[in-house]
């Protein structure tokens, strides 16, 4: 299955930077959907919990929600949208999981957490 892996960039606390990063993800997502290609967003686990500031949290949590919506739309067309959230020490493993999700195609709208930092924390 074809598709792409979208790595989220760090942003600061400035709204313009947050919007720019979300817009970059939107542009990539729309192009991907128009080509019936699957997509995997890669974010940091800490950002789902808001541990690295509001800017990064808005981007990570916003993308997770957008991915779930994209997944609903992709399900009708045969492509998927998923999210990989990684602990900093597991960054290289995240890449592998992202490609596994693209290659497999049977998982859709899912959040895969790489590492153990999420255990005992809130569900995203």
């Amino acid at each position: 299955m074809s598709g792409l892996v979208h790595w989220v960039e760090d942003v600061g606390e400035d709204w313009a930077a947050v919007l720019a990063e979300l817009t970059r993800a939107f542009n990539v997502s729309r192009s991907s959907a128009q080509g019936d290609d699957s997509i995997v967003y890669v974010i940091r686990q800490d950002d789902l919990l808001g541990r690295r500031g509001a800017g990064n949290a808005m981007v990570a949590c916003g993308l997770l929600s957008a991915a779930r919506t994209a997944a609903l739309e992709g399900a009708r067309k045969g492509w998927t949208a998923n999210v990989v959230a990684f602990d900093e020490a597991e960054r290289s493993a995240a890449e592998g999981w992202a490609h596994r999700l693209l290659d497999d195609g049977s998982v859709n709208g899912e959040l895969i957490r790489v590492g153990s930092g999420h255990i005992g924390k809130t569900l995203a």
């Binding site: 919007l19 808001g50 916003g62 929600s65 919506t69 994209a70 739309e73 809130t122």
Partner: protein
């Protein structure tokens, strides 16, 4: 509870119900914010007409808080819009408009007002059940997911002095939901275990609880008020 509470998007629907609820339940000063030129609220609510996405918007609300003469004890970020389309058809303009109002305005206003919040204050952000995903709402879902992220981050950064939580309404009887075609709306209601749309008052009741000391040990949480729709 005594002090000032700011509610955005107060002219109609959920925001109006929240502002009216707060105004009716205690010695509070309620500032109702909206872009609508006619803010027909109760006499006990101070209307502030402002474009929340403008550069001067947050500062104008801060001035209204200062003028109220009482400490800021609550902020409800409720203002929001929809511009629905499937992702493949979603325009740059509709994407940006929803993100700017639903997320950017809430973030900038919170950054402006958080330093004014008194110890024990409470911020409630109105997210949406759509943060779990909703067909045709890539922009709206993203904006509301962003609100959830903002809620968690600010719950950490403003603790222990101010609590920050989110309420995620499901299908609520309001202008926004009435814009959904009737046949689609009926299908949506059919998938709600409680078998009906919610009311703005039911959201207002939850927000009220989160603003009061009754919820004093809760922060960083998202409460879905959706009639069980997330299960069906």
């Amino acid at each position: 509870m005594n002090g000032t509470i700011v509610v955005t998007g107060a002219a109609r629907g959920i925001g109006r119900a929240i502002a009216e609820k707060m105004a009716s339940t205690g010695p509070l000063t309620v500032i109702g914010v909206d872009i609508a030129p006619e803010l027909a609220l109760s006499e006990s609510i101070i209307p502030v007409q402002v474009d929340l996405t403008s550069i001067e918007g947050p500062g104008l609300i801060r001035k209204a808080v200062d003028a109220s003469g009482s400490p800021l004890v609550g902020l409800v970020n409720n203002a929001g819009i929809t511009r629905d389309a499937r992702l493949i058809n979603l325009t740059d303009e509709d994407f940006a408009a929803v993100l700017e109002i639903n997320l950017g305005a809430a973030y900038r206003l919170t950054m402006e007002l958080a330093p004014l919040m008194s110890d024990g204050g409470s911020i409630v952000n109105i997210a949406s059940r759509a943060y779990l995903g909703n067909f045709g709402q890539f922009n709206y879902s993203m904006s509301k997911g962003g609100v959830v992220g903002m809620t968690r981050a600010m719950a950490l950064s403003l603790a222990p002095h101010v609590r920050v939580n989110a309420v995620a309404p499901g299908l609520i009887s309001s202008e926004m939901s009435m814009a959904i075609p009737e046949d689609i709306r009926e299908k949506m209601v059919d998938s709600i275990p409680l078998d009906r749309m919610g009311t703005p008052d039911e959201i207002a009741n939850t927000v009220w609880w989160l603003l009061t000391p009754l919820s004093s040990y809760i922060t960083g949480e998202v409460i879905v008020v959706g009639g069980g729709r997330s299960l069906s």
